[in-house]
C-alpha cells in the first residue's frame, strides 16, 4: 500500500522526515532476495535509522532488536524504516546504489529534498505517487495537530485517542515529549513512524 504517503503537517515539520521502503516484486525478483535485504539492513543499521521494523516482528520501539528482525524475514522480505536527517538518507541511498542490488527502492519525503538526493547521486527517478489530500466526509477527521502525528502510520494503527492522550500527558507533565512520542509510535508495527519528528511536535505542549 502507500503507507508512507499522505503524511500531514507543514513543509517545515516534514523537512527531517524520510521513509525508505525496499520491496522485492512478487514473482519478478523476490526469490533469493533475502541476502540482498540483509545487506541493506546492514547498511541501514550502520547509518542509524530513527525507526525500523517489519510486519513479522514489530519495531525497535516495542523491544525488538534488529537481529530479531533479520531472523524473522519471510520468503518475500521487505525493509522499511525512517530517517530523521537528509544526510543519513543520502548516505543510505549512496551505499545501496553502490551495491547495485537491483531491488526497488522508494523514498517518501519532501519532493525537493528527495530530488536533491537523486541529482547528487546521479539517480534517475522512475515514478512518483503524489498525495492529493483527504476528501469526502472530512468533518469526521480529528484536528490537524492530531492528524500530523497519526498519519505517520499510514496503515491507520494509531488511534486519535492515543494521540490526544499523548498530548494531554505532555501538557500535564506526566510524560516527556520523547516518552509520549514512543507511546504513539508503538502501534505502528512496520516502523515508519518518525519518533524525532513526533517529539518535536509534542514539545510545543510542554508547560501548557
Amino acid at each position: 500500500m502507500t503507507h508512507s504517503l499522505h503524511r500531514r503537517g507543514s513543509a517545515c515539520s516534514l523537512k527531517e522526515d524520510f521513509v525508505i521502503l525496499v520491496t522485492p516484486a512478487v514473482d519478478i525478483n523476490h526469490k533469493d532476495s533475502g541476502e540482498k535485504l540483509w545487506k541493506i539492513l546492514d547498511i541501514v543499521t550502520e547509518v542509524g535509522p530513527n525507526n525500523i521494523g517489519s510486519y513479522e516482528t514489530g519495531t525497535i520501539y516495542t523491544g525488538i532488536t534488529i537481529d530479531e528482525i533479520r531472523a524473522n524475514m519471510p520468503e518475500t522480505p521487505r525493509v522499511r524504516c525512517c530517517f530523521d536527517s537528509k544526510e543519513k538518507m543520502h548516505e543510505v541511498i549512496r551505499r545501496i546504489k553502490e551495491e547495485d542490488l537491483g531491488l526497488s527502492i522508494t523514498i517518501s519525503g519532501l519532493n525537493e529534498e528527495v530530488l536533491d538526493i537523486c541529482q547528487d547521486l546521479d539517480i534517475k527517478p522512475h515514478s512518483v505517487n503524489y498525495s492529493l489530500g483527504v476528501h469526502g466526509a472530512t468533518e469526521l477527521l480529528p484536528p490537524e495537530e492530531v492528524l500530523e502525528l497519526l498519519t505517520m502510520c499510514g496503515h491507520g494503527m494509531i488511534s486519535k485517542d492515543l494521540v490526544k492522550k499523548a498530548i494531554d500527558e505532555v501538557k500535564r507533565g506526566r510524560k516527556t515529549p520523547y516518552d509520549a512520542a514512543v507511546m504513539v509510535a508503538q502501534p505502528c508495527v512496520c516502523g515508519i513512524f518518525n519518533v524525532s519528528r513526533a517529539e518535536r511536535l509534542l514539545s510545543k505542549y510542554v508547560g501548557q
Binding site: H3, V26, V128, L132, G133, L150, M157, L162, Q186, C190
Partner: protein
C-alpha cells in the same frame, strides 16, 4: 478480536489504543463492538497495549471468509492470500520500475477509502466503484479488492464484502491522460455522498528526471499535490521498459 471477561480487570488500558473506538468499558469490563472491530490486531499485541491479564483473543473465524476480509485489509501483519503482499495488499508504485504497472502516457489513481483515522464500510467503497464503472476502468489485477467484486463492470461487490468494515482499502486503476479530469470529477462528486473519508493518490512517470512530473492544474477540483510524496528511484532490476 474478543475479550475473555473472566480475565479482564476493567483497567481500561486498552481503550485509547483502538483505532476505530470499538472498545468500551461496561460493568467494569472491557467490551469490543464486533460490528465496529476491524480485526486490526492492535489490542492483542502485548508488546504494545500490554494488557495485564492477556485477556484478548482472536475470534475463531478471524481468518475465515468473510470475517477474514476485515483482518486482511486492516492488520498490516497479515499477508493477503491472493496477492502475497501484506499491508493493504498492493505493491502500487513501490515496484513500478520492475512491474511497469503505471506506464508512460498514463496516470495511476489510488483512492484510499477510510484513510486516515475514519475506517470504511464496503458499502461506501461500492458507491465509489459503481460511480467509476461508467469509465470502463480495469481495476489493478494485483490489488486484493479485485477479489471482492460481484460484477467488476458494474462496480458491485459481493454481499459478504458489503457487510464488512476495514481500516482502509485501496481502489486502484490506471487512466489515460485524457481521462484524468473526468475521472477525478466523478471521484470528488461521489466523495460528497460518503460516510467516510478517502486519501487520494496520483501516480505519474518521470520524463525529465531533474524535475517532478507535471500534472494538469487540478485546483478547480479542490485538488493540489502536497509538497511531500513517494518517489520510486528506479533502482529495481530488470527495469521494465515501456
Amino acid at each position: 478480536m474478543l475479550i475473555n471477561k473472566e480475565l479482564c480487570i476493567g483497567c481500561g488500558l486498552c481503550v485509547p489504543y483502538c483505532p476505530v473506538n470499538a472498545i468500551s468499558i461496561k460493568d467494569r469490563k472491557a467490551e469490543i463492538d464486533q460490528d465496529s472491530c476491524t480485526e486490526c490486531g492492535t489490542c492483542g499485541r502485548r508488546s504494545i497495549v500490554k494488557c495485564p491479564t492477556s485477556a484478548f483473543y482472536d475470534r475463531e473465524d478471524v481468518t475465515k471468509y468473510p470475517r477474514s476480509i476485515r483482518k486482511y485489509f486492516s492488520d498490516p501483519m497479515a499477508t493477503h492470500v491472493e496477492t502475497k503482499v501484506p499491508g493493504r495488499g498492493t505493491e502500487e508504485i513501490k515496484t513500478n520500475d520492475v512491474t511497469g504497472r503505471v506506464g508512460k502516457g498514463q496516470y495511476g489513481i489510488g483512492i484510499e477509502m477510510g484513510r486516515p483515522s475514519v475506517a470504511t464500510s464496503y458499502r461506501d467503497v461500492e458507491k465509489m466503484t459503481m460511480a467509476l464503472a461508467k469509465f470502463d476502468i480495469e481495476h489493478e489485477p494485483c490489488n486484493p479488492i479485485k477479489f471482492l467484486f460481484e460484477d467488476e463492470k458494474k462496480g458491485t461487490l459481493t454481499k459478504e464484502a458489503l457487510e464488512q468494515r476495514v481500516i482502509s482499502t485501496i481502489i486502484e486503476f490506471n487512466v489515460d491522460k485524457d481521462q484524468l479530469i473526468p475521472v477525478l470529477e466523478t471521484i470528488m462528486e461521489t466523495g460528497k455522498t460518503l460516510d467516510t473519508v478517502f486519501s487520494l493518490d496520483l501516480i505519474a512517470r518521470f520524463e525529465d528526471t531533474d524535475k517532478m512530473p507535471e500534472i494538469p492544474d487540478l485546483s478547480g477540483l479542490g485538488l493540489e499535490p502536497r509538497p511531500n510524496s513517494k518517489i520510486n528511484l528506479g533502482l529495481g532490476r530488470p527495469l521494465k521498459e515501456d
